[in-house]
Every structure is written in C-alpha cells, then in structure tokens.
C-alpha cells in the first residue's frame, strides 16, 4: 500500500471530505475570515454592501468605549468566578461519585442532567429560585437571618446570580470527564501509597491530583473557553437583556448588541477579534503551564 496517491484516489478522498468541508467552510471558516476583514471596515454602507474605506477606526472606538471595558471586566469576573469553582466542585463530586456509594449510578445521571437540559429551561427554573419573594434561595438565606436579595433586579447581585447558575450548569459535563479520569487511575497506586504511609488526604494530594492532571488540564481549557464565550445564559436568565442596567453584560453580549441591535458590524467584528486574541493568549498560557505540569 505504499503507492503514490493517484489523481483519482485523491479526488475520491476529497469527495468523502466534501460534505463536512462545505458545512465548515460556509458556517465557520468563511464567517471567521469575513468578520476579521469586517473589523477593518471604517466606512461601510451595509445597504449596498460597499466599503468606502478601511482602517483601525473600529478598534479605536471600542478601546475608548466604557461599555466595552465594562463588558470586559464583567467577563473576567465571570471567568474568575466560574472556572476555579466549577473545576473544584465537580472534582469533589466526581470523587464522591467514584467511591463506592449506594445509588452511585443514579446520582451520576442526576448530575449529568443540567448538561442535557436546554439553557432556556434552566434559566426559567433559576428565575424561580432567584425570585425575591417566592424564591427558594432567599427562603434558605432567611434561615440565617439574611434579608431577601433582589438577585435578578439589583445590579450588584446580577453577576453573582449568573455565576452561580453557570457553575451549577457546568458541573454535569465536568463531572463526567473527571469520573473518566479517576477511573483511569490504577487502584494499585492507592494501595502502594497507603503502605508507604500516606494518609487519605495525602493519597488524594500526591496520587489523585497529579495522576488526574491531564483531565484537569483538559477540563480547565474547555471551561475557560466556554466561560469567555458566555452569552445564552445571560440572555435567558435576564429575559433577553444583559442584566439590570447592563450590569451583566459580557463581551459576547456586547458583540451581539452591536451587531444585531445597533447594526455596527465593524465594531462587533473588532470586539469579536479582541475576544479571540484574549482566549488565544489564555489558551497559550494554559498550554505552556500544562506542558510543564502535566507529564508522566
């Protein structure tokens, strides 16, 4: 089978790839390239699709826009609020589920439910949980003497509300990944460590954590990228608004606003491009850290 590919073979090969390539090309590759160019449209007549001039005007605009900075800040708060909490909580739950408990499989299914449920449905449930008068969350807080919080209407509390819901929603998927990772660890290492004198916590810290690091690394990249891209949760939780007084506006929401509501395609594209660069940088940092920490 070491023959050189003939023209015919190549064409047949490409024809198999073609359906996927067309879909990817039309819905992914073309928009990416197009939006990259759009971000340089300085003067654009979108009725006639004529670009009068190119330039950095859009980038200059967004970097002078306080709303853009506000969205950036919100996004970073969101990422910091969601990523570490989501990873650590799902790791703990995964370890509990991995130990021999009764109804373990049932719990696995229950924890996976948020992942397969539509964001809109989840948001409706959480709107009830967060409800200032009838919500169950305020009811519980009332036990500790905390007066009702206007989770969804107070600009101060809209980000925490969003973060809590998103942590909860991200658990299912992360738990499944962690469970798979945990089951890949040979139980003999735990026996060996036990005989080497390691207590339960030390076995977790010196065996589970390092041997799980490839999974943790993968989970952290996925969660980070998803968190930077947060949009539908905001849209659904605050009924199509970026929170009270734009208090929960994230970058993608900013892009959405500029694109669909204000028809500022150039500015939206420029903001999208900035988001791309941010995610790219963070992923590079993660890859760098990952290479040093995750190898065995």
């Amino acid at each position: 089978m070491n023959q050189k590919p003939t023209l015919k073979d190549t064409l047949i090969g490409y024809s198999y790839l073609l359906p996927a390539l067309i879909i990817l090309g039309v819905f992914s590759v073309y928009p990416i390239i197009k939006s990259f160019f759009m971000s340089f449209y300085a003067d654009y007549d979108f009725f006639k699709d004529i670009v009068h001039s190119y330039g950095f005007d859009n980038f200059i605009y967004i970097f002078q826009d306080t709303e853009f900075y506000k969205s950036l800040t919100n996004t970073f708060i969101f990422v910091i609020g969601v990523v570490p909490a989501s990873i650590s909580i799902s790791l703990v739950i995964a370890i509990l589920l991995n130990s021999k408990i009764k109804f373990g499989k049932l719990f696995r299914t229950i924890y996976f439910l948020p992942f397969v449920t539509s964001v809109v449905a989840i948001a409706i449930v959480w709107q009830w949980i967060y409800h200032s008068e009838y919500g169950i969350l305020n009811y519980f807080l009332g036990w500790f003497g905390i007066s009702p919080i206007e989770w969804l209407n107070d600009p101060k509390w809209s980000m925490p509300a969003l973060i809590i819901m998103c942590i909860w929603k991200s658990l299912g998927y992360n738990i499944i990944l962690f469970l798979a990772g945990l089951q890949n660890i040979n139980p003999q290492y735990y026996l060996a460590a036990q005989i080497d004198g390691a207590s339960k916590f030390k076995r977790f810290w010196h065996i589970t954590v390092p041997l799980l690091s490839p999974t943790t690394f993968f989970v952290s990249i996925v969660v980070l990228i998803n968190s930077f891209k947060v949009f539908d949760e905001v849209f659904a939780l605050f009924n199509g608004r970026p929170g009270p007084g734009y208090s929960a506006q994230t970058i993608v929401y900013y892009i959405f606003e500029k694109f669909y509501n204000e028809w500022e395609f150039g500015i939206a594209s420029a903001a999208a491009f900035v988001l791309f660069i941010i995610i790219f940088i963070f992923t590079l940092i993660q890859l760098y850290v990952g290479k040093r920490k995750v190898n065995y």
């Binding site: 036990q194 005989i195 207590s199």
Partner: protein
C-alpha cells in the same frame, strides 16, 4: 521481627479464602507462600499488609497484635506484582515518597534514598521516570521504595512474574542478596515452586486456603506431608502409582502391572493400609549404583529427550507412564528397555493422601 499467625481465616461471602492458618515466621527469615492460583496466598499477604481485615484469628508482629492497625501504620514495605511505581515521579522521588510521608527532613531523605538506590544498584537512574525503565529496573526501584523507610517486614507479591526467564533468575538472586544484607523478615508470594525452592528459608504451601506444609525447601521436596505437596513440588512432576501392600513379602505391588518394589530397612509394614500410593521422583531413578540391594525396575522407553545436563526418559513401567531423569553421561543408544534402580520414594495412604513412609536408600546395602 517475628510474625505469628494464629487461626487466621478470611471469608469472602461463601468461599473460605484462608482457613485456620497458624504459623510462626522467624525474625530475618525469607518465607515463600506457595500454591496454585486461588489457594489464598495473596489473601494471606494482603492480610499481613492490612489491606484485608481477617474474619477470624490474630496477626502478631513481634508481641503486638496488629489486626486493627491500618496498613499505613504497620511499618511494612511491599512490592506489588506490577510494581505500582508512581508514574508522575522520578525514580528518586518514588524512593523518597515513604520518607516524605513520614516527614523525614529532605536532606536525610535524599541521603537514605540514594543509599538505598546504591544497594539495589539503580543509582545511575535516579532522574528517570518509571516509564523509561526496563522491567528489572522497575523491580529494583520498587524494592528500594519498599525498604527505604526501614520497615520491619517486607512483603513481595509475585514480584518476578512480569519478568522474562533470564531476568527472573537474576532478580531472585538479587532479592535474596538484598534481603540477607538488610536482614529483614520477608514474605514472598509465588506460584512457581522452583522460585520458592531457590530463594526461601522456609516454604508455606497452601491449597484451597488450607496450609499443607510449612518447612524448609529441601524437606518439603524430600519429605512431602501429602500427595498434593509431592505433586506440586518438582519439575518434571513426581511419578504417582496406585499400589497394594503385600505385608507378607514386605513389598508394594503397583496396580495394573507386574512391578513390585520391596520395602527395605526398618519399616513396620503391619501399620500400612491395604491401598497405598507410591510416589517416585524422576531423578530418583539411576542406572548405576554401588548398592546392589536397591529396588530395581524395568522401563520400556518411548522417548528420549536430551537437555544437556540430563536426559529425560519417557516410557512405561508395566502399563503405567513413567518419567525418569538420568545423567547425560549415560550412553543409551537405541535401547528400548532399561533397568533402573530406585534410590528414593514415598508411600502415601491412598485414602487420606497423607504420606506414611519415606524410603531414602537406607536399609539397602
């Protein structure tokens, strides 16, 4: 440290994995727990390690009852069958791990680990990860890690079964050397009788969870307590023949053949049961002897295998299969019939299968 097991038992649901085991292991001895798979040898080891809690009986380390002591506090070192080296740590850190857990300060831990690495001869590999080592090297690291915290007992769970034949030979000598040098009480689990014979001070042979015999390797080989022990020890296996005792003529007569073997020496035949089993080791056949009174049998030969050191003859005594191992120096040519002397054999009670008499050449002139 001396280890004492009294009436030790372990049940898994319906099956008795270990049944009423009472033995004492002397300080500094290397004891092999030997037996076919499923005989309870690994279960016994795991109980010694504390990974299983016995359902009955006591385990004493020295004078201390350790039944309820967790593995991490038993002061034991253990080498697993697949070594279980921590894949994310270097060789050095693997060896230092038990010391780190015991909160030994770093400098001392480093010194002790390197010293231990020298003992097992892997001090040139300290910066490698386990994945970069060969099976024999991993084995050495595992031994170093087990020994570094100066445990009182070393447990080895089939440590050689993942190695190839030549390396196995080398490593079992190494284990013996290291054990002697450190002087640690060692328990070695294996299913390979040759391994157990070569390495141990004493062998503990088990079958279906029950102790069969606990004695020195040579004694177990020469004086097996029952038929199972005699068949388990030795390769090629012992020849087994059903026979009846002729008390008047003081001899055993093999069934289905016209062969009889005299019972020589000081033996009280009257106490023998009617039906017995005679076990003759292949190497107990010799073609020449200075003593003329040794029992003699005639063998018709089917197959001759020369392996260099000795020659394996397969053939028949009367109607029964026989294997005999004789010196290669013996010129055989194309003989079809050969008369051989029997230097040793064992007589078992055919009902209880316990051994009742050993013939070791004494009584013959």
């Amino acid at each position: 440290m001396e280890i004492k097991l009294t009436n030790l038992a372990m049940d898994f649901q319906q099956t008795k994995a270990v049944n009423d085991l009472t033995i004492t292991i002397q300080d500094g001895h290397l004891v092999s727990i030997l037996g076919p798979s499923g005989c309870g040898k690994s279960t016994t080891l795991n109980m010694l390690a504390g990974l299983y809690k016995p359902t009955a009986g006591e385990i004493y380390f020295g004078d201390k009852l350790v039944n309820q002591v967790e593995p991490e506090h038993r002061e034991i070192g253990m080498v697993f069958q697949n070594y279980a080296l921590y894949p994310h740590l270097t060789v050095l850190k693997n060896i230092m791990f038990p010391l780190k857990m015991a909160k030994v300060n770093k400098k001392e831990a480093f010194e002790r680990a390197t010293e231990m690495a020298k003992l097992v001869q892997i001090d040139h590999l300290l910066d490698r990860k386990p994945g970069q080592l060969s099976g024999g090297q991993q084995q050495r690291v595992a031994i170093a890690r087990a020994l570094v915290k100066n445990p009182k007992v070393l447990l080895l769970d089939e440590p050689l079964s993942n190695l190839d034949a030549r390396l196995r030979l080398e490593m079992r000598e190494e284990i013996r050397r290291i054990q002697k040098e450190v002087g640690i009480t060692t328990i070695f689990v294996t299913h390979d009788q040759e391994e157990a014979m070569s390495i141990s001070d004493k062998i503990l042979l088990m079958r279906d969870g029950t102790l069969q015999q606990y004695t020195t390797p040579l004694e177990m080989y020469d004086k097996p307590s029952n038929l199972f022990v005699s068949q388990f020890m030795g390769n090629p296996p012992i020849n087994i023949y059903k026979a009846t005792v002729n008390k008047e003529l003081k001899r055993v007569e093999l069934k289905n053949s016209n062969v009889h073997i005299p019972l020589l020496g000081n033996v009280d035949v009257t106490k023998f049961p009617e039906d017995v089993i005679v076990g003759i080791r292949p190497e107990s056949f010799v073609s020449e002897t200075s003593s003329k009174e040794l029992p003699q049998v005639s063998i018709s030969i089917n197959l001759i295998e020369r392996t260099g050191r000795d020659t394996l003859l397969s053939g028949k005594i009367g109607e029964q299969q026989v294997r005999a191992l004789i010196s290669s120096k013996q010129q055989l040519g194309n003989v079809e019939e050969l008369s051989l002397y029997i230097t040793e054999f064992t007589v078992f009670d055919s009902e209880t299968e316990n051994s009742i008499w050993y013939f070791d050449g004494e009584g013959a002139q």
